[in-house]
Symmetry: C3
Subunit: 349 residues, 3 copies
C-alpha cells in the first residue's frame, strides 16, 4: 500500500497543511515520531510529544490541531485516536485471509450448521449440533465441542479449544491456544478424597468480546460463566466458573478472577490482579496492577495494593511503608528522650 | 433427563417430605436457590441459605435436616455435598463420549500398546513405546511422547502435549492445552552464556490427579517431578522441575511452584500463590491467595502475606500496615508533646 | 548408554582418582548425592554438599578438587558445571528425533522455503512465504503464519503457534503450546467502545533464545517486539507488545512484562514478577520473585518488593513491616509514659 499525503488525507477525511511537494510525498506505513522516516506518517496523540516532532524524519504527521511553523505536511483530524486506527488499518500488512468453506481435513460431526461464508481451517474438529455463523473463521487445529454456537464475524485462531455447550456471540476474537469451557475447579471433600462437583453449566461470550492467547474461561456449575459484550481480555488470563463480567471491561494479562465473582460494566483490571471468589466489583472500578482484591468494591472506586484499598489510601500506605525504617528510628529517639525526661523527673523529686 | 421428585429421592437414597402432588413434580435439572424454577431441584449446603429457601421457586430442595413448615417437597440426605454431586451427575448434559478405538487420522508409532477400549481422537500423534490403558480417552490434537505411559480411565482433552518418559496413572484428567514434561528452567552460566542443563528425568502423575487447562508440569533434571495421588490442580498453574507434591493437595489457578520444592499431603494453595525453590511445605498447610512463600512451612500451619507468615501474624501485620498513616500521625503528636515537656523541663531549671 | 568410570573420565577430559576396580565400575546415569546408586555418577557443585558424599552410594563422583580419603572413584574437572552438563548429555535418555523432511500430513502453502534437512511434523500448517532453515524441527500440530522466518537448528515443540511476520533466529527452542505474535492488548475508547489498535509490527526472536511452554509473546504495534539473543524464558510468561529484552536475560515462570518496556542485557526476573509498561530495566538488574516494578531501574541494581525498591531497602522494609505490631505496642507504651510525665508536670505547677 502506498498513498500520497493528499490521498491519505482524503481516505481519513483529514484537513491538510503543507505545500504541493509535501502533499505529493509517498507514504507506505505508520511509525512513531522517533523511528519514522520519509515514507512513514507519524502522529501526535499527546501534547507531550509535540516537542519531538520538529526533529522527526517522518514524511507527514497526523494532528488534532495544526502546528504553526512545522516543516512537515500535516493531516488535521477531529479524533486523533480514531484517525490513527484508520491509518493503521490502511497500512496493515496484507495477510491472506483463510478461505471460506470447510477445509477437506476438517472433521465435522452430524447436525452441524456451518454458514457457507464461514471458514473452517485445517485439522479442525467439530462435534455434533455445533453452529458457526456467517464470516466466522475457525483457525487450524481448533476443536469445537458439542452444541456450542459461534456467531457471525468471529475469529478463533489456531489450536483454540471450545468445550461443549458454549455460546460465542458475534464479532468475537479468541487468540491461539486459549481454552473456553473447561470444567471449573470445584471440589468437595467426601470420605477422604476431593470429589469434583460436576459443572453442568456453560459459557456465554457476548458480542465484540476479544480474548488473548493462552487464556482459560471455565464453564459454570449451574447457569453460565458470562463475559459481557465488548469486554477485552489480554493473554494468560484465568476466568473461573460462574464469573460474570459486565460490558466493556478491560482485563490485562495474567489476571485471575475466582469463582462466582461479578464485575460491573467498564471495570479495568491491571496486569496480574487477583480477585477473590464470590465478590462484587462495581461499575467503572479500576484495580491497579498486581492488586489482590478480597472484598466488594463500590461503583467507580479506584483501588490498589494487597489487600486492595481505595487508591489514595493505598498510595499513603505505600509511602508510609517505605518510611517504616525511619519511623522505627524516630520511635527509638523518642524513647530515649522520654527516658531522659523520666530520669530528670525522678531527680526533681 | 426428567424425574419426579419421588424418583429422584429413590435414585439418591433420600428421605422425603411433601404431599403426593409435590412428589409427582417433574425435575429436569439442578439450580441454586435464587435462580431455580419449578423444574429444578435446589439444595441447602449451608445454614446461611435457609432463609432464602422460602422465597425460592424451586420444585424441590435437598436438605440434610427437614425444615418445618416449608411448602416445598424435601429430599433429606445424610451427606448433602455427596448428594449434590450425585444429583448433578444425574442431570448433567449428555455429551457424546469419544468413540473407543483409534481414529483413522491418529498417527501411532511402532511398539505402542493401546487398550482396545481406549479412545484415541482425531489428529493425535503417539510416539514409540507409548502405552494407553483401558477406557482412557485421548482428545483431538494431543501428542504423546516416546515411552510415556497413560493408565486406565484417564481423559486428556484436546491439544494436550505429553512429552517423552512421562507416567500418567489411572483416573487422571488433564484439560485442554496443558503441557506435561517440558524441560525445566535450569541454566548454568558458562563462558559467557546460559547453558541449559539437560533434564534427563521424567514426570509421574499419580492416580486420581486432575489438572486444569493451560497448565505446565516440567520434567525433572534427575528422577521425577511427581504429582501425588488425588491432587487437584486448577488452570494456568506452573509446576517446575523436580517438584514433588503429596497426596490430595488442592492447587488453585495461576499458582507457581519453583524447582525442587516439596509439598506434603493435603496442602491447599490459594490462587496466584508463589513458592520459592527448594523449600518444604508440610502436610495440611494452607497458603492464602497471592502469598509468596520463601521458607519451609511446618505441618498444619496456615500462612498468608508476602513473604508468608503464620495466618494470625499475617492478619495482624495487614491491620497495622493499614493503620500506618495513623501511626505516623500519632508519632508526630508524641514528638510535639515531648518537645513541650522538654521545654518545660528546661524552664524549671 | 553404559561407560566405565575410566571411559567416562576420558569422555569429559577429567583427571582420575581411584583404584583399578573402582575405575572399572559401570556407570549408566547421573544422580544427586542422596539418591545415587552404584551405577550412577554423582557430583559436588557446592562445598556444602561435601559432607554428604561419604554416605552416598554413588559409583563415582565428579569434583573440582580431589577429596582426600574418599572411598569412591573421583573424576576431577576444571569446571564442574560444564562437566555436569556434558555428563548429563552423555546419559540423556535416547529419544527418537523427528525425521527430516515434510510429513505427508503437513499442509504447506505456496512460496515456502523449507531446507531439506528441516523436519516438519504431522498436522503442521505453514502459510505463504514462510522460510524454515537447516536442521530445524517443527513439532506436530504447529502453525506458522505468513511471511514468518525460522532459522537453523530451531526446535518448536507440539502445538506452538507462530503468527505472521515473525522472525525466529537460529538455535531457538520454543516449547509446547506457546504462542508467538498474537496481537497486543491495545485499545482506544472511541464513541462508547474499546477499539483495538491494529498491530502492524512483528516479533523478532534472536539466536539462542529458549522459550518455555504455554508462553505468549505479542506482536508490536509498530516495529517489533524483540527477545534478545541468548535470553531464556520459563513457562507461562507474558511478553506484551513492543517489549524489547537485551541479551542473555533470564525470565522465570509466570513473569509478565507490560507493553513497550525495555530490558537491558543480563537481566534476571524471578518468578511471577510484574513489570509496568513503558519502563526501562538496566543491564544486569535482578528482580526478586513476585516483585512489582513500577519505575525504571538503573544498571546493576537488585530490587525486590511491591512496589520494587533496592534490595537492602526492601529487606529492611520487610523486617520493619513484620515488626509493625511491636512498633504499635511500643508507641502505646510511650504514649502512656508521656501522659504520666505530663500529669507530673501539671502537678509540679
Amino acid at each position: 500500500m502506498e498513498l500520497t499525503v493528499a490521498q491519505l488525507a482524503k481516505r481519513i477525511n483529514a484537513g491538510l497543511a503543507g505545500d504541493a511537494a509535501q502533499l505529493a510525498r509517498k507514504i507506505k506505513s505508520v511509525a512513531p515520531i522517533k523511528s519514522a522516516n520519509q515514507s512513514n506518517v507519524t502522529f501526535i496523540t499527546d501534547d507531550r510529544h509535540k516537542a519531538a516532532i520538529t526533529d522527526s524524519k517522518a514524511g507527514a504527521v497526523i494532528v488534532s490541531k495544526s502546528i504553526d511553523g512545522l516543516d512537515m505536511p500535516q493531516l488535521i483530524v477531529n479524533n486523533i485516536n480514531k484517525a490513527l486506527i484508520e491509518v493503521m488499518k490502511i497500512f496493515a500488512p496484507t495477510i491472506k485471509v483463510q478461505d471460506a468453506g470447510i477445509h477437506p481435513t476438517a472433521i465435522v460431526a452430524k447436525n452441524v450448521k456451518i454458514d457457507k461464508y464461514a471458514s473452517i481451517g485445517a485439522y479442525v474438529t467439530i462435534d455434533e449440533n455445533v453452529e458457526i455463523g456467517n464470516n466466522s473463521i475457525i483457525g487450524n487445529g481448533c476443536k469445537i465441542g458439542e452444541n456450542s454456537k459461534i456467531g457471525m464475524n468471529c475469529r478463533l485462531d489456531s489450536n483454540v479449544v471450545i468445550y461443549h455447550n458454549c455460546s460465542i456471540g458475534n464479532n468475537v476474537i479468541i487468540q491461539a491456544n486459549s481454552t473456553i469451557g473447561s470444567a471449573g475447579f470445584g471440589y468437595t471433600f467426601i470420605e477422604g478424597k476431593h470429589c469434583h462437583i460436576p459443572h453442568n453449566g456453560g459459557v456465554i461470550i457476548e458480542d465484540f468480546v476479544e480474548i488473548g492467547a493462552n487464556c482459560c474461561v471455565d464453564r459454570a456449575k449451574f447457569d453460565n460463566t458470562i463475559i459481557g459484550a465488548g469486554t477485552k481480555i489480554d493473554n494468560l488470563v484465568q476466568i473461573a466458573h460462574n464469573v460474570v463480567t459486565g460490558k466493556c471491561c478491560l482485563i490485562a494479562g495474567q489476571v485471575g478472577i475466582s469463582g462466582s465473582t461479578k464485575l460491573g460494566d467498564g471495570v479495568v483490571l491491571g496486569g496480574q490482579v487477583g480477585l477473590k471468589d464470590n465478590i462484587e466489583i462495581g461499575n467503572g472500578v479500576m484495580v491497579g496492577a498486581g492488586a489482590g482484591v478480597m472484598n466488594n468494591i463500590p461503583d467507580g472506586q479506584k483501588v490498589a495494593w494487597t489487600p486492595a484499598y481505595e487508591w489514595n489510601e493505598a498510595m499513603r500506605i505505600m509511602v508510609y511503608t517505605r518510611r517504616l525504617p525511619e519511623i522505627a528510628e524516630e520511635l527509638k529517639q523518642l524513647r530515649n528522650r522520654i527516658k531522659v525526661l523520666e530520669a530528670s523527673k525522678d531527680n526533681t523529686k
